[in-house]
Structure formats: C-alpha cells, structure tokens
C-alpha cells in the first residue's frame, strides 16, 4: 500500500515552511517516530508516524513552502512497491501531529 503525507490542518494556519526532515528516502519509520518538523507562523509542528512505513518520495526540501492539505511525501509498506506512477492514487492517511 502507498500512503501520502499531506500538510496537516493546523488551526489558524494557511501555509507552512518545511524545517527539517528526520529521515531519508528508504528510512523505515515506526509508530510515533518523528518524520518532519514544519514551521507555522506561530510554532513548530511535529509530524509523527501514525503507522509504520518506508519513506519513498519526498516532494519538498527544508526551506520550501506549502499550503495546508498539499502533498509532502509518499510512504509504502514495502520497499519493493512501485511508487512513481501510483503517487496520485496513494491513500491519504492521518499522521500524528503535535
């Protein structure tokens, strides 16, 4: 299964700037692992894995801006799964946000 991480909805926030990724492509994340820190106009938001997965595609680099709800990264259950053509059909899942 392919999963898509999108910029989470945060109250009173319209867009974010990527601060730091906490893993590279190919990294296997476990539940609760910190994936990425996003900067909002107010505070830094930590996005953590709500389920295990391997990070396969990263759409934005540190310093890039993005709107709420737009794609950030693609994950998969297995590293053999084809991701490039299927990114658009990837399942958008909930990630833990704090």
């Amino acid at each position: 299964m392919i999963y898509q991480l999108t910029v989470p909805a945060v109250a009173d926030v319209e867009e974010i700037r990527v601060l730091e990724w906490h893993g590279e492509i190919g990294h296997r994340f476990h539940v609760g692992d910190l994936i990425v820190e996003l900067e909002t106009h107010k505070a830094i938001v930590e996005v953590r894995a709500g389920q295990p997965g391997i990070m396969r595609v990263v759409m934005l680099q540190a310093g890039d801006w993005q709107q709420i709800g737009e794609p950030l990264a693609i994950f998969s259950d297995n590293e053999e799964e084809e991701v490039s053509a299927q990114a658009a059909s990837a399942l958008v899942v909930e990630f833990q946000v704090s």
């Binding site: 926030v13 319209e14 700037r17 106009h41 107010k42 801006w65």
Partner: protein, 333 residues
Amino acid sequence: MSEQVVRSKRLFFREAIACALEEEMAKDPRVFVLGQDVGSFGGSYREFDGLHEKFGASRVRDTPVAESAMVGIGVGAAAAGQRPLVCITYMDFMMLALDPLVNYGAKLRYKTGGRLTAPVVVKTTAGAKGQGVAHSQCIEAWLMSVPGLCVVAPSSPAEAYSLLRAALRHDGPVVYVDHKRLFPLAGEVTLGEIGTIGKAKIRRHGADLTVTTHSYMTRIALQAAEALQKQGVSIEVIDLLTLAPLDVETITDSLEKTGALLTLEEGQSTCGVGAEVIARVQEIMGSVRCTRVSALRAPVSSNPVLEKACLPDTARVVDAAIRLLKKTAHERR
C-alpha cells in the same frame, strides 16, 4: 559605486518585522525595543524572535503593562537622541498612551520650534480575531488628524518589512499599525528595500470602481475583486499603506478613470479613514459617487457569530460595489 544585491525571500509576516528590526538595530545602535514579552519571549506574535539573543536586554527591554509610561519613556528617549520602537500589543490600549504620544511626541517639534524631535516608532496590532470588545479595535482613524504624527499600515510581509525600515529612519513619531489577521500570512519580501512613507500602491488595476483599503481589509478587497470580475465588474484596488500623510494623488488619478469610489476599512465609518479619503477627494474633484464599507456601528463581540456579522467581508464589499454602480447608473438616466 557598489550595488546592493537585491534578494527576495518568502517570509512569514512576523519574520519580515524581525528582519527589518534586526537590520536597523545592527546598523544603528540608537534603535531599541520596549514592550511586553519582547525580550526572551520574542514578542506576542514572535515578531521579535532572535533580537534579545543578538542585541541583549539593554536594547530589547521587557516592560510592565503600562502603555502610557512606555510611550512616555519612548518619546523621552527619542527626544534625548535614541530611536526607540515601543510595542503596544493591542491597539485598543493605545488609548492609554494618547497623551504622551500626541501631546509630547507629535507636538515636540512644534513646541520647540524644531529644536527637538521625537523619532519614536509606536508599533501596535489592531483588529478583531475573537478576543472581544476591548481587544479588537482598529482606531487608526483617530490618529490621522494629529498634526505631526505619521501613521502607516502594512498589508503584507513585503511592506511589513519596508515600512518598518522607513519608519525607524523617519523623524517621527510614526505609528506602525499591523493586524492580528496578517500574522498567518506569508509573502515575498525584497530584502534591503526601504519603503516610502506617504505612497499608496495599486494592488489590482480596474476600470469600473476605485476601492481604497488598508491592512487586513486589503485581502478582503482583492477577494471581492475576484468575485466581481466574475460578474463582469473590474475594480481597482488601492492599498493606502500610509494613512497619514494620505496619498490622495494616487486615489484621484484612479478616480479620473473609474468615476466611482468605495472605501473599505475594518474600523468605524464615522470620522473613519474612508470619510477622510472621500472628503479630500471631493475637495479636489468635486462630487464623486461614493460609498463606505466598514464595521457595523457596535463594539466587536468575542462571540464568533456576532463578530462575523459586525466586520466587513467579501460578500458585503461585492454587494456594496454592485449597489453603488447600479445606483449611479440609474441616477444618470
């Protein structure tokens, strides 16, 4: 002759402010900051982030909640040769500081025959955002009539930066009014740009109606412009940026083209920004078809339903524009 490299950077509104202050403070040791939570806390909106760490407590000073004293100290320090920025967290509480600001700051040049001036910037945050009747006001219109007082109001990170740099270099006093609802915005900032106090900017060109606006309402005006375009009405949106002195020429130039004026503000219409714009424009051009859109005549409640009902929104601006243009078309027949 060395040319400064012009860099453009996308920043949050608060970062534009911090950036402008950092550059002015690095350049001029007389610039210092006074206010609540400006020091290690970095500002109520984090708009002073990093300054306390970089410049120390003597130049980024936390004060008690005492607006009259804060502005009095700022005016006095300015008269003595410093260039302070006094931060009044809520514009509502500017009311407590009007005596030192007006009677001592603004009048100093006049009282001393020009021998003393008060180059102080009073930065304050206006606007309604759920915090109720005493924490929502936009009273910049009250300040426009004070001789000797400059009033500026950025509407995006670009001018938050450029106007703050200009204000800190001005003879003063300058009141710099930002808005609670501007802080979530991000935008391109031209680093190095010193703004021009007294110059409005045309945000969108149009032919049927001139809309003057400032601060957060600029966003509402531009949204209304999009909606009106779909109805075949093209509006010219003028972002005033400086309320005192007003850039009347940009407005009259636009009116030569459109012949109709809608003024938009979040504050009250009675003796408001729009009232002054219309009076000035009519003194120059004669009778102009006009209407004012503003808050309803009530304090802004913390109740979200009442707050929304009180403030101008895109729909009200569109409605007012259509009614103005329909009315005047009918009268001309």
